[in-house]
Symmetry: C2
Subunit: 291 residues, 2 copies
């Protein structure tokens, strides 16, 4: 049962477990996560009582905190907390947020005296339409373009208003995902996923050095493809690349790989490379090892 | 006394009053303000028991919420809350945050069933070095460039990680403010202020249609300058414009106008236009009317 249920919220949407710094509780209204989005997060898929790719998630979390100079005293404690939270559960989603903590002073500058806040939310696995994996999903290109800033690129930070606005362009019932370009015209990602394409037999995915989130599933797909002898090339990809792709697919920690069946008005459907990669990662998703 | 005091925090940094939706309390860890920065804020300077330019602050707040489609049911109630919070005080700073509220579902999409969260924080007026107003401040150009996105431009939203990182480039003791350019090479603003310059006798300030916050004090300065027959031109300004300016000054709700005395290694100091504008706005700062 939810610890934060309100009448207007459907039960499935509320987390079953909420821990703030390891305990039940609520957030300080002074938290810099709220004031500035000064922090990072992870969404971790859990199956068979284990958190999928936990080591990769924690590595990215630590890397983001290091870039933001948010000191995490004990990554091991976070690992144990996640492990404990999902133990014995058939499936769950963990959202982990780490912020710089309650402000020690007014304004943007941090003092170094802040103590990071850790929020763990455990959600039930959402109801799924399995046809997303097998037949693919409808995707639209968002009208909004993402601002580009190498200082933030790759990080899963808490400044996500662009994703919120992009997602609001089209109802979920009409598009499972929105594809986003940056202001320079380069393809970046989906609102909640990374994107790959197959063009003239090559597997391509956007570089993430000026924008976007370096997804854990993106990393897994690149790694597993390489093990199977398929090189995923990271590069600058434009509208014309997307339009001439024979296959397009999306990745994130929860969905694994979703083929794009329909890109705006163009029918695509699952192609052979996409299906090969699905076959490669499928065992890792169903019976997760540590990383 | 603070309601959120912790031993490591200096008393002056903590708010004296914290209201969440009009009451003492704490934040839901599900708030979309925390998860995505899905909200807006205002920093309102108060003198003689009155909130300076309150109507302008509320207008911008409402405009930001409208752009984000965050429904505010009762702007009048917010006005009353602010008015009550500062009544009888010689000086105070109010920070007002409005978010889309606790998430009604997972993910970036909002459902429309969310109820906005309103946070009011009242701080003591910070100790001031009055020489900032009279002699000016030292300012540095930040190395980091701001991402540009017209969908967010002008709004005082909660995605402020760029400002946090820019401010961290140089200690406050070495630079009172950092000036920021966008990725296109256009000057945007300071990290916490708007910027104006005088070049060949013209008063210039960056357009804010691709980036930046449309400051209330910026608006007041443009308005008061116009009343005195000085037209502030909004336009695209580049590094060369800044370097050839004879005067540069900063504005925000708290500081009013700060002349830039030193821009990186170049001495500037308060010039005649800056001082004229200071004289014009000074009565409005000291004895605030409603707007």
């Amino acid at each position: 049962m939810s610890t934060h249920g309100e009448p207007h919220r459907s039960a499935g949407a509320d987390p079953e477990l909420v821990l703030i710094n390891g305990q039940a509780g609520s957030m300080s209204p002074l938290d810099r996560g709220l004031h500035f989005g000064d922090g990072v997060f992870e969404t971790i898929a859990c199956r068979d009582g284990r958190a999928r790719f936990l080591a990769l998630h924690l590595e990215r979390l630590a890397s983001g905190c290091e870039r933001l100079k948010i000191p995490i005293r004990d990554l091991g404690a976070i690992r144990e907390e996640v492990t404990r939270a999902v133990s014995g559960l058939e499936s769950a989603l963990i959202k982990l947020i780490v912020t710089r903590g309650p402000a020690a002073q007014r304004g943007y500058a941090w003092s170094g005296r802040e103590t990071a806040t850790r929020v763990l939310l455990r959600y039930r696995w959402p109801q799924e339409d399995t046809s997303a994996w097998t037949r693919g999903v409808r995707v639209r290109v968002a009208a909004m373009r993402l601002g580009e800033n190498p200082a933030l690129a790759g990080m899963k930070h808490l400044n996500r208003l662009e994703q919120v606005l992009a997602r609001a362009e089209v109802p979920v019932t009409e598009a499972a995902e929105l594809l986003l370009f940056g202001t320079s015209g380069r393809l970046v990602s989906g609102a909640m996923s990374n994107v790959f394409m197959v063009r003239e037999g090559r597997l391509l995915t956007p570089r993430l050095d000026s924008c976007g989130v370096a997804g854990v599933m993106r990393r897994v797909v690149i790694r597993e493809a390489a093990r199977a002898g398929v090189v995923a090339e990271e590069g600058d990809l434009y509208e014309r690349d997307l339009q001439s792709a024979s296959e397009v697919f999306l990745t994130n920690a929860r969905i694994g790989i979703w083929p794009v069946a329909m890109l705006d008005a163009r029918a695509l459907g699952p192609g052979p490379v996409t299906q090969q990669l699905q076959t490669l990662i499928s065992p890792l998703l169903e019976s997760p090892a540590d990383a």
